[in-house]
């Protein structure tokens, strides 16, 4: 008995437009002007990144951002050799979780280095023209 075995389809729209919320939008605007900031929780005094309008620890409202020195430390990293489907990347990329002194959380981002190691000091490499996105930092490089 003949059968049409497969039926290709999609679940796609053209594009999502994500807003970042009151605090997140200020964070993106700071990135656009080449500055790294973190949210400051007035109740517990913690700085944390990426910022949200609430503190993840005590669920209080957060409105203030404070500038953070653009010097981070690699807490963990991976070298991506192959994509999800097994194809080797043209050139391996280093993805790292970068912490900033005195700031909880941090940034997951690319690091341009051929000697990645835990504890390595890194600084952001800003793109020339920026649009207010995490990728306004092209990558981090050894400081």
């Amino acid at each position: 008995m003949r059968r049409v075995k497969y039926f290709p389809e999609v679940m796609e729209i053209e594009a999502y437009v994500y807003t970042a919320g009151p605090v997140g939008t200020k964070w993106l605007e700071a990135l656009k002007s080449g500055r790294l900031t973190a949210a400051y929780c007035p109740r517990c005094g913690r700085l944390y990144m990426p910022p949200k309008m609430y503190c993840p620890h005590d669920f209080q409202e957060v409105t203030e951002l404070r500038e953070v020195a653009p010097l981070g430390v690699v807490e963990t990293y991976t070298v991506i050799h192959r994509d999800f489907y097994g194809e080797p990347l043209k050139e391996p990329r280093v993805l790292a979780f970068i912490k900033f002194p005195g700031v909880e959380g941090g940034l997951i981002h690319y690091v341009k280095t051929d000697r990645p190691r835990v504890g390595m000091k890194v600084r952001p490499r800003w793109r020339a023209e920026r649009r207010g996105l995490v990728t306004d930092i092209e990558y981090f490089e050894e400081a």
Binding site: Y16, Y85, L95, G105, I108
Partner: protein, 380 residues
């Protein structure tokens, strides 16, 4: 009041189930579960049905629309939880304990072979502001970040991952459901994908459906004379934002385990638990989850595993089924895959080298980029 498992049924566990749509797979699994539950009739004997699935896995928005018919739940109390199958078992446990329901059917299905752009779909689970703009070519990289953090903090080496992979494939050979069990292939011979994880460290995906019938102790014996009791089931979400979570240790697994142990009155899991089925969709996760479930002190799972404590025939066998590394990851069915294997071992359906089959702990994790685990404690 105790909650017992009256019947278990599964279907698929093949890299690609070609001849059955997901609805037909659900029907097959349900048929087998109801047969296992002494010929239960879903149209008469069941109070509620729960389905565990996610829209983007199905490729259908509001995919819960398709839950009722294949399990016999049309015009009945059916609902969907977007979570792991074990979370559905957790809901059934609460529903029965509330006194309003006696028999609850839990279903879950997953057809990864239907998803063409799996990396992009999984990547859509990341935070749209802080992570999505990076456009990762391989979401497994997020797990690799956890692997290195864990290995760095607890001195875990590549050889320990080799031991986990080897144990999984050796055990998997005896598991009729383990499509990917391949003991001959050494981990070292596979290419590095996202350092430190090699191809063999990352479980592949598998199409599957599973159904579990749970019943209160008042009625469970109407369906089976060998119920397996669910004496504890708890789950925990650590945080949503990956950047805030502990990269080196799965606290969500520890919190879920502690909750389930309290319910099941287990004081010292390492002694009281007979065997365990835990998530090992990445090899290092088996070590992390053994420690999180208090089956080994933190950082020492690697030594105990090397001594054979967790191998079949060992002091506390972990993943007699070979786990996800041998069976594959069936999306949200993963928790029910672990549970159904444990139940089969406890009831003696699958011959397994384990001394004590009376108490088992089952764990599941929802994979990257989540920090959610579920743990259930089963007793004969």
């Amino acid at each position: 009041m105790r909650v017992g498992i009256a019947g278990v049924g599964w279907f698929g566990f093949q890299p690609e189930v070609v001849d059955y749509s997901f609805r037909e797979m659900m029907f097959k699994a349900a048929q087998r579960a109801y047969e296992d539950a002494g010929g239960l009739d879903p149209r008469r004997d069941v109070d509620a049905f729960i389905s565990c699935q996610e829209d983007f896995w199905e490729g259908i928005s509001i995919a819960d629309e398709f839950a009722p018919d294949p399990v016999g739940g049309a015009m009945k109390a059916v609902y969907t939880v977007t979570g792991d199958g074990l979370q559905c078992v957790g809901q059934a446990y609460m529903m029965i304990k509330s006194g309003l329901f006696d028999v609850v059917v839990v279903e879950s299905h997953g057809k990864p072979s239907d998803v063409v752009t799996l990396n992009e779909v999984m990547f859509t689970a990341t935070d749209p502001v802080s992570l999505r703009p990076l456009g990762l070519e391989n979401v497994h990289a997020l797990a690799a970040l956890e692997a290195r953090a864990y290995m760095a903090r607890y001195g875990v080496e590549e050889e320990h991952l080799e031991a986990v992979v080897e144990k999984a494939h050796k055990a998997g050979v005896k598991n009729p459901r383990a499509a990917y069990a391949s003991p001959g292939r050494s981990r070292a011979s596979t290419p590095t994908v996202v350092d430190p994880l090699k191809e063999a460290d990352i479980a592949k995906f598998v199409d599957a459906a599973a159904v579990v019938v749970l019943a209160s102790d008042r009625v469970v014996r109407d369906f089976t004379d060998a119920p397996v009791w669910v004496d504890g089931v708890w789950w925990s979400t650590e945080i949503s934002t990956l950047e805030y979570h502990d990269w080196a240790f799965p606290h969500h697994a520890r919190e879920a385990a502690d909750g389930a142990y309290i319910q099941a009155k287990i004081a010292d899991p390492a002694k009281e638990v007979g065997f365990a089925e835990v998530d090992n969709r990445y090899s290092f996760k088996e070590l992390q989850h053994i420690e999180a479930l208090r089956l080994a002190p933190r950082g020492q799972a690697k030594e105990l595993l090397a001594d054979g404590a967790f191998c079949p025939g060992g002091r506390l066998p972990v993943n007699l089924s070979g786990g996800a590394l041998a069976e594959g990851v069936p999306f949200e069915v993963h928790g029910l895959a672990r549970l159904s294997y444990a139940v089969a071992v406890m009831r003696g359906d699958f011959k397994a080298e384990v001394d004590r089959r009376d108490v088992a702990v089952v764990h599941s994790w929802r994979g990257v980029p989540t920090t959610t685990s579920v743990v259930a404690v089963l007793r004969l």
